[in-house]
């Protein structure tokens, strides 16, 4: 038997075909339903096959009109009016209009399981004024609702009105407005997505076809990426300079812009002494963030800022001279000083105890297998032990780790925070009373169970206002509360993962050309890349 044709090479001669590594599956499931909860549809269904009204560009901090061209708040922010783009067609040739937008939102109302953004919590009705104008009437003041409305992928009324069960509908032959809508091939190991013949952006996309081989593990994807078999990926690659860039410094590139927030160390504020904000700050000062960034995160990121804001959200930060205290710089001596001041005493083992004599046992909960966070946790445990705590990490499978986090069964844990177009979701998630539930019940966010009355008032104000100046001022005040109370401890800025290869394509966004962010994991901003990248 002759073994020719070694391992299956990509057809490098076929121009304009971009191979992408984004999802990790062993076998593709044919689901192109953009409304499917749990986002189980194949990437880029939500933003690629279907499109939203507006896309927020997290690098330039601008809201880019997409299927919507303009929006205005009316009647004291009770009504959101959106102008819909003209001359847009669905990929089957039918015209797109505001009626499709109305239909999509009505569908979410009729089938609450599809309302993953919770839009109908604050909407009263959606009304078409004419084919290019639509109004959203709010039942309560909630200006941040624009994010969810603007980001909603729109489905075609003329097709979906005939679907009996849109929840279980897998939409095998999607009809969308996006740049790529034609399913060219679909097997369980590989599928291919071709261009939309009726796409509304003239002469775009320049990419001809998207190609998705099945990579079940990060290792398999990394092998393919190194081998020039992948053009664009959202994988985490350790020691990327040595493993990937060195192999071809001309074409192998990466860019890890920050998501806007930070990765946090959560302290359960229902347990002593973590209910004391000074103790939380002291613990924060004992952590060597530089070491964590270098050893745990391969220098892919930077230590957290005092406001926990990073990347594109950095422009919201309060001015440096208004930051009246600093508890993110490494200062273990000050740590010990504060702990002493707060009345903590050392027991016979030399470990800190509460002023009332109860012991302090610290276990840092981390997901098993998430090696970068595990390394970070090990460094934190070491730092805490160095100043006299009794700390160690414990790992658990994702399911039970998250369950413990939600039910408040932890002393410390490393986790993410909520994200959005503004810092609002993050601070709200860290400080709002409405998310606090007793230990033992499931909390969706605010797992550390901290609440602040001033914050609650600010939240209401934020939700009622669309004036940019007022909003900026409110966020400023939220930051001050965050700094004063330290509800959770920011560790390092949260990076996003974008790896790309310029062998066959050019005009990727990058540090030298930051017109957009680069990670395919950021939906719907990935639409910028899909429409702007050009084959060589």
């Amino acid at each position: 038997m002759i073994i020719v044709n070694c391992h299956s090479p990509i057809k490098l001669d076929e121009k304009g075909v971009m191979t992408i590594s984004k999802e990790q599956v062993s076998s593709w499931v044919r689901n192109f339903n953009p409304l499917s909860p749990g986002a189980n549809s194949r990437w880029p269904t939500e933003a690629g096959i279907y499109e939203p009204l507006f896309i927020f560009n997290s690098i330039t901090n601008k809201t880019v009109p997409w299927l919507g061209t303009n929006y205005t708040w009316k009647l004291n922010n009770r009504v959101l009016e959106i102008e819909i783009r003209d001359n847009v067609q669905w990929s089957d040739g039918n015209p797109f209009s505001a009626f499709d937008v109305e239909f999509t939102f009505q569908l979410k109302k009729d089938f609450p399981a599809l309302d993953s953004r919770g839009s109908w919590k604050y909407l009263n009705s959606v009304n078409v004024i004419d084919s290019s104008l639509i109004q959203f009437e709010f039942s309560k003041l909630f200006v941040p609702g624009f994010e969810a409305i603007g980001g909603q992928p729109i489905v075609p009324k003329h097709i979906w009105k005939n679907i009996d069960d849109p929840i279980k509908f897998s939409n095998p032959l999607p009809v969308g407005t996006g740049p790529f809508t034609e399913i060219i091939k679909f097997t369980n190991q590989l599928w291919e997505l071709g261009k939309n013949p009726y796409y509304w952006k003239k002469d775009k996309p320049k990419i001809n076809k998207l190609r998705f081989p099945a990579f079940p593990t990060n290792e398999q994807a990394t092998l393919a990426i190194i081998n020039d078999e992948v053009d664009w990926a959202g994988n985490f690659i350790p020691a990327i300079d040595r493993i990937y860039v060195k192999k071809d410094t001309l074409h192998h590139k990466y860019w890890f812009p920050k998501s806007g927030g930070s990765v946090f160390l959560y302290l359960n504020t229902t347990i002593k002494p973590f209910d004391n904000s000074n103790v939380r700050k002291a613990i924060s000062m004992a952590i060597d963030r530089e070491l964590i960034v270098k050893v745990a995160m391969y220098n892919y990121t930077e230590p957290a800022h005092q406001t926990a804001l990073s990347g594109g959200l950095a422009f919201w930060r309060i001015p440096e001279n208004e930051i009246i205290e600093n508890w993110v710089d490494y200062n273990p001596e000050k740590s010990i000083q504060i702990l002493n001041n707060e009345g903590l005493i050392k027991n016979n083992n030399g470990h800190w105890e509460n002023p009332d004599g109860t012991p302090i046992n610290i276990k840092i909960n981390i997901v098993s297998g998430w090696s970068d966070w595990i390394r970070a946790g090990q460094i934190i445990a070491k730092n805490l032990n160095e100043i006299g705590f009794n700390a160690k990490i414990i790992t658990a499978g994702f399911g039970s780790w998250f369950s413990d986090l939600q039910t408040g069964r932890f002393s410390m844990a490393i986790a993410w925070a909520n994200k959005g177009e503004t810092p609002f979701p993050m601070y709200e998630g860290l400080l709002a009373s409405k998310y606090v539930v007793p230990v033992g019940e499931v909390a969706n966010i605010n797992w550390q169970r901290f609440s602040n009355k001033k914050m609650d008032d600010l939240i209401i104000k934020f939700e009622e206002n669309s004036d940019k100046v007022i909003i900026y001022n409110i966020i400023n005040q939220m930051q001050k509360i965050f700094i004063e109370y330290a509800p959770a401890i920011p560790l390092f800025a949260e990076p996003t993962w974008g790896v790309y290869n310029t062998l066959r394509f050019k005009n990727f966004p990058s540090k030298v050309n930051p017109y957009a962010q680069i990670s395919p994991n950021n939906i719907p901003e990935n639409l910028f890349i899909l429409t702007e990248v050009i084959p060589r």
């Binding site: 044709n5 076998s27 993953s116 919770g118 509908f169 079940p216 593990t217 399911g399 998250f402 369950s403």
Partner: protein, 308 residues
């Protein structure tokens, strides 16, 4: 009994599938999404007995439910996508390993004072003692990545349309060689040892010594008489191993990206996908039961003593 255990064990794990799916997005989803997710998967607060009865009812109609991790694909379809590849890879590897292993075992027993015995047996056992994933990764890296002799992933070349063409079959074989090879060499030692020891005890029996004294041809003796009897206990072992092929190739499938059931099982556990887990366990249970039944019949055929 198996079905009952099947139902309750996945539900003993802490957490629920909706929360896990929600958490995967690490803060990008609104908290309201969790409520929507729970509605989708029909998480009722109905008492567990009602849920169990519901499950049994659907099972009777062959409806294994809808997968959570691969929503909205029905469990039957999800399992169907992988089961034949696993049976193919694990089955072929097992059969080849068994045949070669037993053959070697026969020879080693017959020539048991020879050099082959003292070299081959320990080396095969040594290879079998290596951590499997390490061995598989090293071979993949050297033979696949560095030397480009074998494909790095999948079960056939994606550029070939999947019909039963000659190219397709050749591609499937090419893609199966490396994963099958790793599976074969780690289990070879076990079969060799089993067969060799069986043979040795058979060779020690009187009827063999008698036949030797009678001047029977050695070859005939070795195969027609000794091996045939020595094979019987091995066949039982083979039968049991055959039953477990649906579980055995998990690491192989992950390392070689082979699209089988092993990875599905892993994903199902990770996502606490109850319907899929139940479906997969059911297939494993059935396979074990059926292969055991087949092996029993086979032994009836092979060994006249078991017939009445």
């Amino acid at each position: 009994m198996a079905i009952t255990v099947n139902f309750f064990i996945p539900r003993l794990m802490p957490g629920d599938p909706a929360s896990i799916m929600f958490a995967r997005f690490q803060g990008k989803l609104k908290p309201e999404t969790l409520i929507a997710l729970k509605k989708t998967f029909g998480f009722t607060d109905a008492p567990i007995i009602i849920q169990f009865w519901d499950y049994i009812k659907h099972l009777a109609f062959g409806d294994l439910g809808i997968s959570i991790a691969y929503f909205p694909q029905p469990v039957v379809e999800v399992i169907y996508s992988g089961i034949f590849w696993t049976m193919f890879l694990a089955g072929i590897s097992l059969i080849i390993s068994f045949m070669i292993g037993s053959f070697i075992g026969i020879f080693l027993a017959w020539f048991r004072e020879g050099k082959m015995d003292s070299i081959l047996l320990p080396s095969l056992s040594l290879i079998g003692a290596f951590p499997y994933f390490w061995l598989a990764m090293v071979l993949l890296y050297i033979l696949g990545f560095k030397l480009n002799l074998f494909p790095l992933r999948h079960s056939f070349d994606q550029n070939i349309v999947s019909t039963w063409s000659f190219n397709y079959i050749l591609s499937v074989i090419h893609h199966t060689i490396l994963p099958a090879f790793t599976l074969i060499i780690v289990s070879l030692g076990g079969w060799v040892l089993a067969m060799r020891n069986n043979m040795i005890s058979v060779l020690g029996t009187e009827y063999i010594s008698f036949a030797k004294a009678m001047g029977y041809n050695n070859k005939v003796l070795m195969f027609k008489y000794a091996a045939r009897n020595a094979l019987l206990p091995s066949i039982t072992g083979f039968g049991m191993a055959l039953g477990f092929i649906l579980t055995g190739a998990l690491l192989t499938e992950i390392i070689f990206s082979y699209p089988g059931q092993g990875y599905l099982l892993l994903e199902a556990v990770r996502s606490q996908d109850y319907p899929l887990l139940q479906g997969l366990f059911l297939t494993i249970t059935f396979t074990v039961l059926i292969t055991n039944w087949i092996v029993d019949i086979f032994i009836l055929i092979l060994d006249p003593r078991t017939r009445k």
